[in-house]
């Protein structure tokens, strides 16, 4: 218990001192996971909408895949992406391995099933006639998607929070494809692994606190936006 307390005190001191490396890692975490989440939304929301409203062959299969994807261990995804991107892999020539871009790709793949699933659920909860109503009122396809998204914003904001949560808390995949390179691909989660492995408990705790604070801050902002729109 004493060690934990010491660790906490030291950690708060580290954070308070504005440790440069800590700040750099925190900012990078936000950028990488934020980008992955935004991209996951851009791909996942239209996909979720199509899944909810469409009737095409293989729809049931697609739904099952999304549900499987949500339950898939992220480290497995990390392993697959790593195998794809290493030099001896099929996409080795792109030289994406051990870069931030590779991390965005892995986190994106992990977040997408969540975004698709949440979006589909949100859209299915809307009145069935809504898209047709918008169509007869004169809305084009893109406009309809935008208006339906507005109607489903409670569910969509939940999708963003779920996607970001998955991306920012990801360790195994980020470690495998990013390489945890100092000053380059080290993010909060992978840094925690490193410091723990080195026995540097205080730094690990400090990183953990920053990560929790970041996740909370992001979710707080989104929740405020979500609840305000409840009118």
């Amino acid at each position: 218990m004493g060690e934990l307390f010491d660790g906490l005190v030291e950690a708060l001191r580290l954070i308070g001192s504005g440790d440069a490396e800590l700040r750099e890692i925190a900012w990078r975490t936000l950028v990488v996971s934020g980008s992955a989440t935004v991209l996951a939304m851009l791909i996942g929301v239209p996909a979720g909408y199509a899944l909810a409203r469409g009737s095409f062959p293989g729809r049931t299969f697609a739904l099952a895949s999304v549900n499987t994807g949500m339950g898939m261990p992220p480290v497995v995804i990390g392993l697959i992406v790593w195998l794809m991107l290493i030099r001896s892999g099929p996409f080795g020539g792109l030289e994406l391995i051990y870069t931030k871009q590779a991390m965005v790709i892995a986190q994106l793949i992990i977040a997408i099933p969540l975004v698709v699933g949440f979006t589909a659920a949100a859209v299915q909860a809307l009145p069935r006639e809504l898209p047709e109503l918008l169509k007869v009122l004169g809305a084009g396809r893109l406009r309809t998607l935008w208006l339906v998204a507005k109607e489903a914003r409670l569910g969509l904001l939940a999708a963003v929070m779920a996607g970001f949560g998955a991306a920012v808390s990801e360790v195994g995949a980020s470690l495998a494809v990013g390489g945890n390179l100092q000053g380059d691909t080290r993010v909060l989660t992978t840094a925690i692994v490193l410091e723990t492995s080195r026995g540097q408990v205080e730094r690990a705790i400090a990183l953990g606190i920053v990560l929790l604070a970041m996740a909370f801050a992001v979710n707080l902002t989104l929740t405020i936006a979500q609840q305000r729109n409840r009118a």
């Binding site: 851009l42 290493i86 030099r87 001896s88 100092q182 380059d184 492995s197 026995g199 936006a225 305000r228």
Partner: protein, 291 residues
Amino acid sequence: MTGSRLLLLFAALALLPLAVACGGDDDESPGTSTPIGGTMILATTTSTQDTGLLDVLEPMFEERTGTDLKVIAIGTGAALEMAAKGDADAVLTHALSSEKKYVDSGDLVGARLVMHNDFVIVGPESDPEKLKGLTDLNAAMKALAAGGGFISRGDDSGTHKKELELWMAAAVDPRSVADREETGQGMGATLNVADQKGAYTLTDRGTYLALKQDLDLVVLFEGPAPLLNIYHAYVVNPEKHTGVKRAQAEAFVAFMVSPEVQQLIGDFKRAEYGEPLFIPDAGKTVESLGK
């Protein structure tokens, strides 16, 4: 939030991926010596990284050559496997017997002896198995096998391989050792486990020194030649693996045995711990070490 403000926020967020995409690799300013540029992947062991030595050498190399050095610290086994698949450009490891296989198969070339330190057996001050005072390595291993608890890396690292070699030399089957557990983690974490459980473990001296003040473990056995921890640097064979960055890898190996770096290695954290973490060995032979 009104529609237009929401749109603005969304647009701002959407620009984030661009930041990542354009961010690319952090550019290093071209060095004063021979700038080579490009990127290279160095596969090395966790203990090399844990001591912090590479944290010092990496920026130095990058500044010298303008090359973005990506240091992937995984276990020795994994590092050598990367070399065999051509997924790395250079290798820095400390498991000579394993390395030999890869040299024989033609995956590793340009071997250079870089430095060494040694392994020590640490344990609780109470020393229930009475290791302190023993001089024979095999006797010490047999004493450990009898009881007292032993924590192994269990992660196919150089340290782990060394541990297995020692058991074999003492004719002990590791699986028969009472209270032996494998952490599958780095040296720092493994030392913490041994510390918490009051058990013994095999560690490189460097990592132990770095963490000594937070541990209750003490050095109970050291010295004999088999406990030497010898580091070699290799270039992954560009003839065999076409993707290898030959110029960068060769520059790295040369860098590691250059006089300036050798001096730095010898001085690394010497003042902090009162003894050197590594002994620079460029130019010597393996046989001459430890004598």
